[in-house]
Symmetry: C2
Subunit: 576 residues, 2 copies
């Protein structure tokens, strides 16, 4: 993976480069962090000509390590105004690996963006005008591409929201079977892609072969070791059976499940949208529904599902915790079929479910529709796709929705909506929301896993917890692997270095991997500082410091001064 494709989306020029020796050391999130710090004007308009959109492979992207093949998308976020990385599984990663593609960098922006397809194959790349795809929904677009380019390709597409440049727009992809629609959701990167006039990127690895690793047998051994530890860990089976929705009942019990625009941490209909209920319904209904699917080919955890309606016809795949929390309880909607459909509609229009679920919650608080009104929420999503004024407001994300509709209780940090963990009763994640260069993003350091070992209501130790989790997240996102392989690295942190050394012939120890994660955070923070983001808005919203959250009746009370010290607290030995 030593090739980089740079695409000037204004002139249409495409250029292949070989990675510099420095660039070869970066992958996924760390590639994005260093590229932006080195090459992109931090003050650029996120939807202007100087911003870039990067699709980057993780460092382990072309290895057999399980879950490897997640890709990172990066750009300056139209929501946070700072650097943003979001990642997603699906089929693209393995295609990039075979094409030896470290990264695709979309530069510049056309005066008047029209839908185009960026086709990337072995030794060739092409920008193809595709007016027929204009304003087409995600699945429709993907189906058209699959027919035209073959179902062995990997695809990234934006929906109508991305084409409109809306701040809540995401980028969608599919798994290798085409059954699941997966989304790189956060930060509005779909809008960055859309305004560059790129409706879709097609990765055709036909005829390409990945580069051989430095030590194939060592790599195979480390990968087998990884699998063995994972298979022995009881969490793996739980994830296989229930996926991310497994945590909904836990979050409800902890009182951190966002309910009716973050006005409560418990939802009286939680059971109806729980992981257990979803698994039961999938089993009972049969048909196209299913559990235990991988999102990246070869993943042995395989935590995804296909959620089907009572007749057995697919509603959405995969139905995940954040979707249930934001589109379900946060909107007061306890009908799991309705939530699944809202999830599907977000995917089709091409908006992030977290950002949009939060925006709908705020619109409900504004009285546009009532809490619990699933039909009204469906209509709002329809309006997003049509680009009506109200639809554009919702599609622009929760902060714009709050501003325009005059709602003061807006669950966002640094311009980005909060995921489904209320920081008033899970204080460690409040530190991450506030201090992460990524804004309110659970994937940047989710303290949920510490809730059993460390009182989530306590102020003490949460800054240290968040620091550790943030470093770990930066590592995993740079390797291109899933958080769910963490148990293997907990058991043997050096496995990370063994995998890298076997792939690249390096001589790293675990501490070097840890430093890579830390360095990634520092590069991101420096970009944000230069963009003027770091010192501003880096706290939970005012209402979370003053309005007690039922049932714990707690507020977020970690002093800002304590959080500001996060980058100088003692470096933890083990970040996994």
């Amino acid at each position: 993976m030593n090739r980089i494709l740079r695409v000037n989306t204004r002139s249409g020029e495409l250029k292949w480069h070989s990675c510099s020796r420095e660039e070869q050391r970066w992958g996924g999130r760390s590639f994005i962090a260093h590229h932006f710090l080195n090459e992109v004007d931090p003050l650029c308009d996120p939807l202007g000509r100087s911003n870039r959109l990067i699709v980057a492979s993780g460092l382990l992207g072309d290895t057999p390590a399980t879950t490897a093949g997640r890709i990172s998308l990066g750009g300056k976020s139209p929501l946070t105004g700072g650097i943003k990385e979001c990642n997603v599984g699906g089929a693209v990663g393995k295609r990039m690996a075979r094409l030896a593609l470290k990264a695709v960098v979309l530069e510049e922006a056309p005066q008047d963006p029209k839908p185009r397809i960026l086709l990337i194959g072995k030794e060739r790349a092409e920008l193809i005008d595709a007016p027929q795809l204009g304003r087409r929904e995600s699945s429709d677009t993907l189906e058209t591409l699959r027919r035209r380019f073959g179902d062995r390709c990997g695809f990234l597409v934006v929906g109508p929201a991305g084409e409109m440049g809306l701040g809540g727009a995401c980028v969608a992809t599919t798994d290798h079977t085409g059954v699941q629609l997966r989304v790189a959701g956060r930060g509005g990167l779909g809008a960055v892609m859309g305004v560059k006039g790129v409706k879709a990127i097609v990765f055709d690895a036909e005829g390409a072969e990945p580069a051989p690793p430095a030590d194939r047998s060592a790599l195979a051994a480390a990968s087998r070791e990884l699998n063995r530890i994972l298979r022995d860990d009881p969490k793996t089976e739980n994830r296989h059976n229930f996926g991310t929705p497994a945590v909904l009942s836990l979050c409800n019990a902890l009182g951190i499940l966002p309910t009716r625009n973050f006005s409560s941490g418990q939802f009286e209909q939680a059971e109806a949208i729980s992981g257990e209920m979803i698994a039961e319904l999938i089993d009972k209904r049969g048909g196209e529904g299913g559990k235990g699917l991988p999102c990246v080919q070869g993943c042995i955890i395989a935590c995804s599902n296909v959620f089907a309606d009572p007749s057995g016809k697919t509603t959405v795949a995969s139905l995940q915790y954040e979707n249930l929390g934001l589109l379900g309880s946060n909107c007061g909607i306890g009908d799991v079929d309705a939530v699944a459909e809202l999830n599907h509609l977000c995917n089709q229009v091409g908006v992030d479910t977290i950002e949009t679920g939060a925006a709908i919650g705020v619109a409900m608080e504004a009285g546009i529709i009532d809490f619990g009104d699933a039909e009204g929420a469906r209509d709002l999503l329809r309006q997003v796709g049509e680009g009506t004024p109200l639809g554009r407001i919702i599609g622009s994300g929760v902060v714009t929705t709050g501003r325009v509709l005059g709602v003061r209780r807006v669950p966002a940090v640094k311009g980005q909506a909060m995921p489904a963990y209320d920081p008033r009763a899970l204080k460690g994640i409040g530190v991450t929301y506030s201090m992460s260069p990524m804004g309110a993003d659970h994937t940047a350091g989710n303290a949920l896993e510490t809730a059993r070992s460390h009182d989530p209501l306590s102020r003490e130790g949460q800054v240290e917890i968040s620091f550790r989790l943030q470093i770990r997240a930066a590592i995993l996102d740079s390797l291109g692997v899933c958080l769910f392989i963490r148990p293997a690295f907990v058991k043997d942190p050096s496995l990370t270095a063994r995998l890298l050394n076997a792939r690249y012939g390096w001589k790293w120890a675990y501490r070097d991997v840890r430093n890579m994660g830390l360095d990634c955070l520092h590069a991101e923070n420096e970009f944000n500082r230069l963009a003027g983001v770091s010192e501003t808005r880096c706290d939970v919203p005012e209402f979370m410091r003053t309005e007690p959250l039922p049932p714990n009746d707690s507020v977020f009370d970690i002093p800002k001064e304590d959080m500001d010290k996060i980058w100088t607290v003692q470096l933890p030995e083990d970040v996994f």
Copy 2:
């Protein structure tokens, strides 16, 4: 003027204070700057509980100096995210002077804001519930207040936009005759007042007497000297006859008149909305129309007008240059009666004409309505008042309008719309827009006056020009006087110190006045730095650096690095 009224808008508590010795040295804009730096959390939510709204008298507010009596409104701006001062003439200043009121400080915010009247009289103040005023337009509200509290009171009111908390909301007042509706427009401070549940502030000076000056005869002498120089200056007569619209023809000739969303600097129908045409129409139509009215009682320049329709009935008073530029040429509307009516509608709904004219221009570029469609623009303003989704978008200001409607050419700096001078052909004002703590605001340092003596297209010397103009603006806004008395201070800068010394018994020289202005800017910059605003977004929008502006075909090309040095360039001896 040594009294301060603090109003807790949440608890309803009202407290009178005497100024500290330090506070006595501040007035208007400098009072606001120091108060915010000392007492307000720079990271507060502009529409949250920790922000404040200040109404402050200028240092010369209770003197007979002509134009003195302008008041400053201040707060953290919902548009810029930084400190904001905007000022306005009208009847309030003289009432505050008689009440010896240095400032009114609205603190906190109610959970659920409902319209209230803050009544301030001699030795008393009261918050009165006024549900009947909810969502009432500005003139209607003012008329009701005038009937209830008497026409000798001064009034500040917000329209429906302020109550809704929209970012473009302004605060309106009247002159002492009640004929003119004057507006403190910029920065969305009407929203700050609205969310504090204060629909109106009434200043009743009945029975109150202003404090005597330190040296009455010296004050009278300095004031007479001021008047004498002004009367001798030819600009005064021009302003009396034509008011601010006088500059429209000049701006059109220079090619800086914003036209069709800042896509040209000349408007083919400029003559029809020029100062000369307006004066001619007022003379010809007669009726309620008139020219040469003062906005502050006793002003000898008296540059305001009452613009009447062909039947002689008042459309709006006063019709000013910025309104003509933003609601007229910038929207492609060359019908002066239509522009006057749009101006009237903005006043009634309670939105800033600059912010809103720019937002309508962007909506026209988005294709919501066509350029030149006055009927469509009227409908948009009606929607602002009604709070429809589209109306709320427009009322939220130009940046939100651009973001939601997907327009990339957004004429704003630091989140605030540009006034009617395109910086691509008047580069000095581009430096002010970029570097002023106030964001894009012509009253913070308008380089138009230098256009004859210094090539406005040249990059050279513009940073120095802006620095000088910014210091001067900070002085005038702290004294509470109008820019139009500048000729007197050009002739004799020491007159500023003579007026202050006569009023307060100080021993200031002109250089101390200059330092006061500079210090005000530094206090504002420091607040903004702590708010995370200073380093970010402080440049003209990207399109103004790349898209040449007809007819000069120039771009804004002053290097950002040069602008960043502004606060360290040599301090000019004479800032007037």
